[in-house]
């Protein structure tokens, strides 16, 4: 299976448990152990310290590794997108927005993030949001205001379907990352209802073992083409701007 992990992170964890954070070499070793060929990678420096500085660190660290793609942390600060896009100009990337007070502390609403979201929409760059932190109402507002923007809900938890289903019915560009979407038969049911094209395999490394996400997908009642889409095909198309 060609796994392309949509949810990984490298870097030290300021407040995290000792021994959990992964260097880029550590991430590559975990990927090899579990047969994960490619990964979209966020940076603790960008998420927990400073978006701009952390994006530079991330780009520098993954530059030698063509199977790693940056998930840059973006804020509504002027020029943030252009600065990130210039870091590894030949490498596809996605945007991570962390608007909650514990991270970058801004609003996803139009009066604050509208220009950035419009630019991402125009350039067909997917945005990754964590609804448990951003709030489902804010995610809904983004989808409503930017109908051509691909939005990936990450770390959703297994209790979120009463938010996810109405939004997924209404907004076809909402996708779900699978690392915490682990309710009984949940993945299969989502695929049956909305199609496997809207699910992205994710492990939540360094926090979670890839074993969980791999097994959930391996045993899901999907046909093999759909399983391959979820494992990596969907993310590949998303980064290439082909969705």
């Amino acid at each position: 299976m060609d796994y392309f992990d949509s949810n990984t992170m490298i870097g030290a964890l300021g407040a995290g448990p000792a021994g959990v954070g992964l260097s880029v070499a550590g991430l590559l070793a975990e990927m090899e152990r579990y047969g994960i060929k490619q990964a979209l990678v966020a940076s603790t420096a960008a998420l927990e310290y400073n978006a701009s500085a952390g994006n530079h660190v991330l780009a520098e660290e993954i530059k030698p590794h063509g199977n790693l793609f940056p998930l840059y942390a973006l804020t509504p600060d002027p020029g943030a997108l252009e600065e990130a896009a210039a870091l590894l100009p030949s490498r596809r990337f996605a945007a991570l927005m962390a608007p909650d007070h514990e991270h970058h502390n801004f609003s996803l609403r139009e009066w604050c993030s509208g220009p950035l979201l419009a630019a991402l929409e125009r350039r067909n760059i997917p945005v990754f949001l964590r609804p448990a932190l951003a709030g489902w109402e804010a995610v809904a507002a983004v989808l409503e205001a930017h109908p051509r923007l691909n939005v990936v809900a990450t770390h959703t938890g297994y209790r979120a379907d009463r938010y996810i289903y109405p939004l997924a019915h209404r907004y076809p560009r909402l996708m779900v990352e699978t690392s915490m979407y682990v309710g009984h038969r949940q993945l299969e049911e989502f695929a049956r209802t909305f199609g496997a094209a809207r699910l992205l395999f994710g492990t939540n490394l360094p926090y979670y073992t890839p074993a969980a996400a791999i097994a959930v997908l391996a045993y899901a009642q999907l046909d093999e083409a759909d399983r391959a889409r979820v494992a990596g095909g969907n993310l590949k198309l998303l980064l290439e701007g082909k969705t």
């Binding site: 209790r159 979120a160 309710g183 009984h184 993945l187 939540n204 360094p206 074993a211 959930v216 391996a218």
Partner: protein, 263 residues
């Protein structure tokens, strides 16, 4: 062999006895394919021989009705299901009768506690008759636990393990969070009658290997939370762990079988 089966989505081919499942529904997200037939279908797909479950109705709401439903479902498939008796400590006058109603599917009683949902401290006076019963009968007591929770934080079980050494205490979810696991490991290391159940939605990287290193593989039990959580997740965590197959087999089923059969 075990790893390859998971990667290919095949039944594992080893004995799997899940120590932590449920029967019924829940309030806060959609319920799907939770009837006995669908659960058995999934168990077959995974290669899971047996499942010990407890009633969710009894955990959330009605002890008597819920247990009765779970006992009936287990009685219909005695080779696959075994039911725990859920005890609600808010009904102390019914406790003895409810324990008597447990259908004796195993040599020793299987009891499930959910101090968080029942809003009652597991060390409190309402639970004392239950712990005395468990000590007297060498019962298996599976309790929900959560890191530092005021009703069921793992460290609260230290006192119980010491006072009731013949009770077999399973720390459900091992405290859930990474810090919760640290607390659960601390207790299980110290007391022979405390076991770690790895059921849970949080698949901390390396935590299973840490449990085995710290308390020994013979005290670690596989659980899935079926049909609440995706059972394949728990299977994968064990099957793809950095452990020898012999330890994986112990965790997946042999340890719990030995416990249920009275060891």
């Amino acid at each position: 062999m075990i790893e390859q089966a998971v990667l290919e989505g095949r039944p594992l081919g080893v004995f799997i006895f899940d120590c932590h499942g449920h029967f019924g529904a829940w309030p806060d997200f959609p319920v799907r394919q939770n009837d006995a037939a669908r659960m058995l279908e999934l168990m077959d797909r995974l290669g899971m021989a047996r499942l010990a479950f407890s009633s969710l109705d009894a955990c959330y709401c009605d002890m008597r009705r819920g247990n009765q439903e779970a006992y009936a479902a287990a009685a219909a498939h005695p080779d696959r299901f075994v039911a725990y008796a859920v005890i609600n400590p808010n009904l102390p006058e019914s406790m003895e009768e409810e324990l008597d109603r447990w259908p004796k599917q195993a040599p020793r009683p299987l009891i499930k506690l959910h101090p968080y949902l029942h809003r009652c401290r597991v060390t409190g006076p309402n639970y004392r008759p239950l712990w005395e019963f468990a000590h007297r009968t060498s019962a298996i007591v599976l309790s929900h636990t959560w890191e530092s929770d005021a009703t069921c934080g793992p460290l609260m079980f230290e006192e119980l393990a010491r006072q009731y050494p013949d009770a077999r205490i399973i720390l459900g979810h091992s405290g859930v969070t990474r810090k919760g696991y640290e607390q659960a490991i601390q207790v299980a290391r110290k007391y022979e009658n405390v076991f770690l159940d790895i059921t849970g939605s949080q698949s901390h990287n390396g935590i299973l290997e840490r449990c085995v290193a710290d308390v020994g593989s013979e005290k670690v039990l596989f659980g899935s939370d079926l049909p609440f959580l995706e059972a394949a997740m728990g299977i994968g965590r064990v099957a793809l762990a950095r452990l020898p197959d012999s330890q994986k087999e112990a965790i997946l089923g042999l340890n719990f079988r030995r416990l249920v059969e009275g060891a």
